[in-house]
């Protein structure tokens, strides 16, 4: 029985945020539109979007185009790794800072990054080399991929002997709202460079794939995968190559097993839920009530059927 209690603005705002944060990749604007209608209260709606959009954007690591350099449409990935201030995000590749409007999901302005915001030349050697290798990799592997490499720890390290951490973010989205289908792929590789042990570990890669198909229905896929690996610390170029190869190897393997999951689906997993046909391989004999009474008696005798 629904109680006719009026919700407080705070409660409505929390509900609105929940819907926004749980929107499938690429669909938050549609959800926001429907939500505005349902809420019927622009004050609450605006507060909810101001809170929810930044979190959504960073969780999904959305990619925005940076206006500016003529003939060179660079893009920036909105992530917590590159966040300098609430709406300022660093693009390490072009050494620029993008100022973005979270709710409209656009980049409104670009400025060059200051020296304090960028990593040291020593770090940049590694970061840049890795960035170049990853770019090559995604150029081949991802038709619509974008990537970025951030330094999340130790960006001011001047020379060998200290630990630092780089994060590789690879993101690809395909949005076909007209075909009622949207999908996203996101992989995040954290790489710790431990110079004193001469080892580096891509630590806990999280590859996430998601897809949403909703023509006359509502079907979601989400798949998450974690793994670890390691390799030897070498020169910046060699490191970059070996890391890129490791990433390529793991992602390819993962994709292979996703494919396998999908192929197995009809015969195993699905069959556990509902068979295509009964064991008799014929349709159910609805007209044969005599058979039913028999079946019922047999069932009672054998104690089958609770």
């Amino acid at each position: 029985m629904a109680e006719e209690v009026e919700l407080s603005d705070e409660q409505k705002k929390e509900i609105a945020k929940w819907f926004l944060l749980n929107s499938p990749a690429g669909e938050i604007q549609y959800v926001a539109k429907d939500l505005r209608s349902v809420l019927n209260d622009d004050g609450v709606y605006n507060e909810a979007t101001m809170d929810a959009f930044p979190i959504y954007n960073k969780t999904h690591m959305i990619c925005l185009e940076m206006p500016g350099r003529i003939g060179d449409l660079s893009s920036v990935l909105v992530t917590s790794y590159g966040e300098l201030a609430g709406n300022e995000f660093l693009d390490p590749r072009t050494a620029q800072v993008a100022i973005i409007d979270h709710v409209k999901q656009v980049c409104t302005e670009v400025r060059p990054a200051s020296d304090e915001e960028l990593p040291s030349p020593y770090i940049e050697e590694f970061r840049g080399a890795l960035d170049a290798e990853i770019l090559k990799y995604i150029g081949e592997a991802y038709p619509k991929g974008v990537c970025s490499v951030f330094c999340t720890y130790g960006k001011d390290v001047e020379g060998p002997g200290s630990t630092f951490e780089l994060v590789v973010v690879i993101s690809a989205t395909k949005l076909s709202p007209k075909n009622f289908c949207n999908g996203s792929w996101l992989s995040v590789w954290k790489i710790e460079f431990k110079d004193d042990i001469q080892v580096l570990e891509p630590d806990r890669q999280i590859a996430g794939a998601g897809a949403h198909y909703f023509e006359e229905g509502n079907v979601h896929l989400d798949a998450i995968h974690e793994c670890k690996d390691s390799t030897i610390f070498q020169s910046a170029d060699k490191c970059a190559l070996s890391i890129a190869n490791i990433i390529c190897h793991h992602e390819t393997e993962y994709l292979g097993s996703l494919e396998a999951s999908y192929s197995n689906l009809p015969d195993t997993t699905f069959k556990d839920l509902r068979r295509k046909l009964p064991v008799t391989r014929t349709l159910f004999p609805w007209h044969n009530t005599l058979q039913f009474s028999l079946t019922r008696d047999i069932q009672k005798e054998l104690g089958i059927g609770k």
Binding site: M1, A2, E4, I15, W18, F19, N22, S23, K33, D34, L35, R36, S37, V38, L39, K136, E140, A141, Y142, C181, G183, W185, A211, Y213, F214, E216, G217, N218, V219, H220, L221, D222, H225, D237, K238, L241, S242, A244, C248, T252, Y254, L255, G256, E259, N264, L265, P266, T269, F270, D272, L273, R274, R275, F284, W286, T295, R296, I304, G305, K306
Partner: protein
């Protein structure tokens, strides 16, 4: 209301319960519309008189009590509650028995319930429900299914008999949840719900149950195929578009 349904179509089926209660609290005046149009995973109660479980839905509910198809009693007990006529109750009993066998043949387990009631047009409405929990399959595990559920709701409106024929309108909804987890592929979750309608005019020579049963069987088959090929196929296609399985991306050798 349209916006509310729009929201439900986007939210992940696993979160539909939360989404529905959120919408109910935001739009209390639309609660009966929301409850009848939004599908929720099926819940079950245990009939203590007959020692069997039965499925809950809007069609066997009155206030906060639910009528068991086995004992025909409301749990918890309720006064002045609606019951089907004795004629219809006979059909309901037979339907429950036959449907249970059907269910066993296709689902090798699970729970089913059928509810019937008269409607204003001298016809009646029947609701066939199936709930299958994939963790307890009939014959041992075939796969690494961690969690899985299939909920089916079939509502058939049967028109009055005219010259030996009757009109049947079937609306079916299937909700499916699959989660597999293993070492190499991590966790993989596919969930969905689809809804379809089917209308037929059939002779009542073999009885209503036969007609309804055949329609449901055909519909379930179509929905299962649809889910498998179209829906799962589309999501798989999407992932492959984003990152094609690569014989192309090769390990690159260092330039020496």
């Amino acid at each position: 209301m349209e916006a509310a349904m729009g929201l439900m179509r986007r939210i992940h089926p696993k979160q539909s319960e939360t989404a529905l209660s959120a919408l109910l609290s935001l739009l209390p005046h639309h609660s009966s519309d929301l409850l009848s149009q939004v599908d929720q995973p099926l819940q079950v109660l245990f009939d203590t008189d007959c020692g069997k479980e039965f499925i809950l839905c809007e069609y066997n509910r009155d206030a906060d009590s639910y009528r068991s198809p086995w004992s025909n009693k409301y749990q918890p007990p309720l006064e002045d509650a609606p019951y089907p006529s004795s004629e219809l109750r006979k059909l309901e009993i037979e339907a429950n028995d036959v449907f249970a066998v059907y269910r066993d043949q296709y689902y090798e387990g699970g729970i089913s319930s059928v509810y019937m009631w008269e409607d204003e047009n001298e016809g009646f409405v029947a609701c066939f429900l199936i709930k299958k929990d994939g963790l307890k399959p009939g014959q041992g595990r075939r796969s690494s299914l961690q969690e899985g559920a299939w909920d089916a709701i079939h509502v058939i409106e049967v028109g009055p008999e005219e010259e030996g024929m009757a009109h049947y309108c079937l609306t079916s909804t299937v909700m499916l949840y699959l989660t597999t987890k293993d070492e190499s592929s991590g966790s993989f979750n596919l969930s969905g719900s689809i809804r379809r309608q089917m209308n037929m005019d059939l002779t009542v020579a073999e009885g209503h149950l036969c007609n309804m049963g055949r329609m449901i069987e055909e519909m379930e088959g179509k929905l299962r195929n649809s889910l498998d090929q179209v829906y799962f196929g589309k999501t798989r296609e999407m992932v492959c578009t984003l990152r094609p399985p690569s014989e192309i991306a090769q390990m690159r050798l260092p330039d020496s």
